[in-house]
Amino acid sequence: METGTKSVKPTRADELADAIASAARSSERLAIRGGGSKDDIGRPVRAAAVLDMTGFAGVIDYDPPELVLTVGAATPLCEVDALLASRGQALAFEPFDHGPIFGRAPGAATIGGVIAAGVAGPRRLSQGAARDHLLGFEAVSGRGERFVGGGKVVKNVTGYDLPKLMTGSWGRLAALTQVTLKVLPRAPMQLTKLVAGLEIPAALRLMAKAMGSKAEVKAAAHIPWSAKHDGRSVTALLLAGFPASLEARGRMIDALIDTQERLEPMEDAECAAFWHDMAVAASLGRARPLWRISVPASRAAMIGEALQLAPQDQLFDWAGGLVWIAYEGDAVRMRAAAEAAGGQAMLVRAPTAMRENVPALHPRLPGVAALEERVRRAFDPLGIFETGRF
């Protein structure tokens, strides 16, 4: 997001509502911005004022045994993580800070940005996505009206599930002021089983087998070319839980990989660092355009085959269901390869010139695109939030 200098920073919901209503009156577009960690995603924005949401930060309610946390949308993700960790809890969908993907310092990402972008890390495979953990919210629509969606308890089906719509809406429906999240206990122990030297198809089969086993694998990833392992591949299976359980489940995993080249498992800090690097596709470097492809896991190898990628160009997370690809070639070819595999490709990082021409989000089929448009107009009839970024 690149915007002009004009910026408005409300600190109360009624001020926010006034700011949006006033933008509507003066035919001005607003680019909603939290910490700015994802500014470099999407088409550069010029013709919009910045709606600075950082005034809506702070913890509103947290009662650990209720498994519910309510915070201001601009509360930094790192503060949320630290607060939950202090009570032995966590956001199970493992949201991460996009800053480092773009060479920015970590720490800017906000929880509202995490929700607006639907950010989830490696454990999304077993624990669900951001959408599965947003229980409720407060927001101001493009009509300049304050409204709420969902509730503040872990089980609720009252009315439409607007929290799902807000998650991943990239600031195109409403400006979030407050979010209520389901939180879960942090596992007391974690352990990553490692296998070296598998080809991609064999790694995908192993991960599918592990996910179909009773070992309750939390995350599964494959790195086709690992610098740390002299350029060999590494396949990683994460187990987390109570010690007695981990030991028993570790044996189930070992039984699946006994013929392979087993490496020493990783624990504690090493384990956490490995999965953090996986979340931000660190091993693909920052020099090349970065794509994120969601695909049925069993077909994940097809994209690299179609584009004739080298092992160094791709990473497989979510047991293959998420493929990160560093690729300098044609975006049309990339999207065709993703579609042929039954998936879709999001352009996460690219030089400005490429972002001007290539939409970040995978294009929708016409019927769905038209319906999405109607839903966006239901929240933002005048298109106040349509900055052209997506």
């Binding site: 495979l125 089906v157 979510w318 998936g343």
Partner: protein, 497 residues
């Protein structure tokens, strides 16, 4: 106050035979039912206090037929009420006198099972349990397990975002559905989600799940399947006070344990269930808690010891631990029989479904007892304690004049109480018609209008399942209106629908 449905449109009623003929050109043979005897089975769902025979029933067999019926009804301004197995407890499938009832029972095939990517593609009329049965020989199952699972359909589960006793750990329907094929009221067929985890764009799938048949008719569902846990064990714990049981639940979660299920029954529920199934429930307790743990055997063994310690620290007066499947199922037998047991205590019972913050449980139960005395109607309480979902069963006799109305008023007071303590009107049964008029207790006018605008994006003529969920029907044109300075819309380049 009785729940009023929208006034039937006499022009539509006058065209009934024309409508029946038109439907017969789309769905041949016995797929269109118009004889009064044939309509009778469709006049209510499991919210049986309200009955209304539909104008006509159509039972399509293909997505094309669904699309053609909806398109014809759309073009002819005829309302449509979709129906799965008719097990809704909130009246979601209650027919309208001037509407076509679209039954989806013939969509009963499992289309594809993929064990590598762990999903099943099923038609919406397949029952919830049938999905688990289809994959059980490979050690898999479908996690959401509403108590009606032998009868309720996956399409209905999607419409209602059905839950079950294992929600805290495994989620509701919405957390276990990957994609749907959906027919809009216009007859347009679209696909939302897919066979992969994240789809980018707006999460339209997320808002369709739980939309109670107001946004579209689902014709195919892709659900996640999971490997069945190695084992499951349960504890049956008696407490002298509700407060002790509630604290035990909070402490289990605070210890980092997420049980597969945690169910609480109050004293009247325990007595009713024991009298019915005689499984040896302790009768000298004020609260009985079932805690089920699943996973690998070593984990269950470890956690059972931890939960037992927590229970004793909170004054448990009795603790039993299952050592085999037979014992585990016996612990559950009473809880699962709570509804029929209530049926023996009174001619009728009315099942409520609010969710509350768990910490408020002791006060809420006390207040429900007070309400019970005030209304002169008995109540027994069963409770999904892990996720705060209350199911008070109000006992009444519909043949006694005024009792149904008293039961409804009592129920409404319970739901108002749930909202007042920070909870919600419904945890898993849906709003339907039952809680429709209570929606303003939880949502303000602008909140409800914003939800209705989403409805308008899917069904601008508001022909699909009208009269459900929203207490007041606004016309979409009225909802879309926005006061704009000088009467001019900004951004003329934007497409508008």
């Amino acid at each position: 106050m009785p729940i009023l449905m929208p006034e039937p449109d006499s022009h539509v009623l006058a065209r009934r035979s024309e409508i029946v003929s038109a439907l017969r050109t789309i769905v041949p043979g016995e797929g269109v039912v118009d004889h009064p005897d044939g309509l009778k089975p469709y006049e209510t769902d499991a919210f049986t206090a309200y009955r209304q025979p539909p104008m006509v029933v159509v039972l399509p067999e293909t997505t094309r037929q669904v699309a053609a019926v909806l398109r014809w009804c759309h073009d002819n301004a005829v309302k449509v009420v979709p129906r799965g197995s008719g097990t809704s407890l909130s009246g979601g499938a209650l027919p309208l006198a001037d509407a076509v009832l679209m039954g989806m029972a013939k969509f009963n095939r499992i289309l594809e099972i993929d064990y590598d990517d762990r999903f099943a593609v099923v038609q919406p009329g397949v029952t919830n349990l049938a999905v688990s049965q289809a994959v059980e020989d490979r050690g898999f199952y479908y996690a959401p397990d509403p108590s009606s699972q032998i009868a309720c359909s996956i399409g209905g589960n999607v419409a209602e975002n059905a839950g079950g006793v294992h929600c805290l750990k495994y989620g509701l329907t919405t957390n276990n559905v990957l994609g749907v094929e959906l027919v809009l009221m216009s007859g347009e067929i679209i696909r939302l989600g897919g066979r992969h985890l994240d789809c980018g764009g707006l999460d339209l799938l997320g808002v369709v799940v739980g939309s109670e048949g107001l946004l579209g008719v689902v014709t195919e569902v892709t659900v996640r399947i999971l490997p069945r846990p190695e084992t499951a064990r349960a504890l049956l714990i008696g407490f002298a006070t509700i407060g002790g049981a509630a604290q035990c639940v909070a402490d289990v979660i605070a210890a980092g344990i997420i049980p597969a299920g945690m169910e609480l029954m109050d004293r009247p529920a325990v007595h009713a269930a024991e009298a019915f199934v005689k499984v040896g429930y302790p009768l000298d307790v004020d609260a009985l808690l079932i805690v089920e743990l699943d996973g690998c055997a070593a984990e269950c063994e470890d956690l059972i010891a931890q939960v037992e310690g927590i229970a004793r620290a909170n004054g448990a007066v009795s603790v039993r631990i299952s050592h085999n499947e037979e014992e585990r199922l016996a612990f559950w037998a009473g809880r699962k029989a709570a509804f029929p047991a209530a049926g023996r205590l009174a001619a009728d019972f009315y099942c409520m479904d609010g969710t509350i913050p768990r910490r408020r449980l002791p006060d809420v139960l006390q207040e429900i007892r007070a309400l019970s005395e005030r209304y002169g109607l008995g109540v027994i309480n069963v409770f999904h304690a892990g996720d705060g979902n209350l199911h008070p069963l109000i006992l009444y006799d519909a043949n006694v004049p005024g009792e149904l109305e008293r039961a409804e008023a009592f129920g409404s007071d319970i739901l108002r109480l749930c909202v007042r303590v920070g909870g919600v009107l419904t945890g898993e049964h849906g709003v339907g018609i039952e809680k429709r008029d209570l929606m303003p207790e939880m949502f303000g006018e602008d909140d409800l209008k914003q939800q209705e605008r989403v409805k308008c994006a899917f069904d601008p003529a508001q022909l699909l399942n009208p009269g459900k969920v929203f207490p007041t029907l606004h016309r979409c044109a009225e909802l879309g209106r926005m006061h704009v300075h000088g009467g001019k819309l900004p951004f003329p380049d934007l497409p508008r629908f």
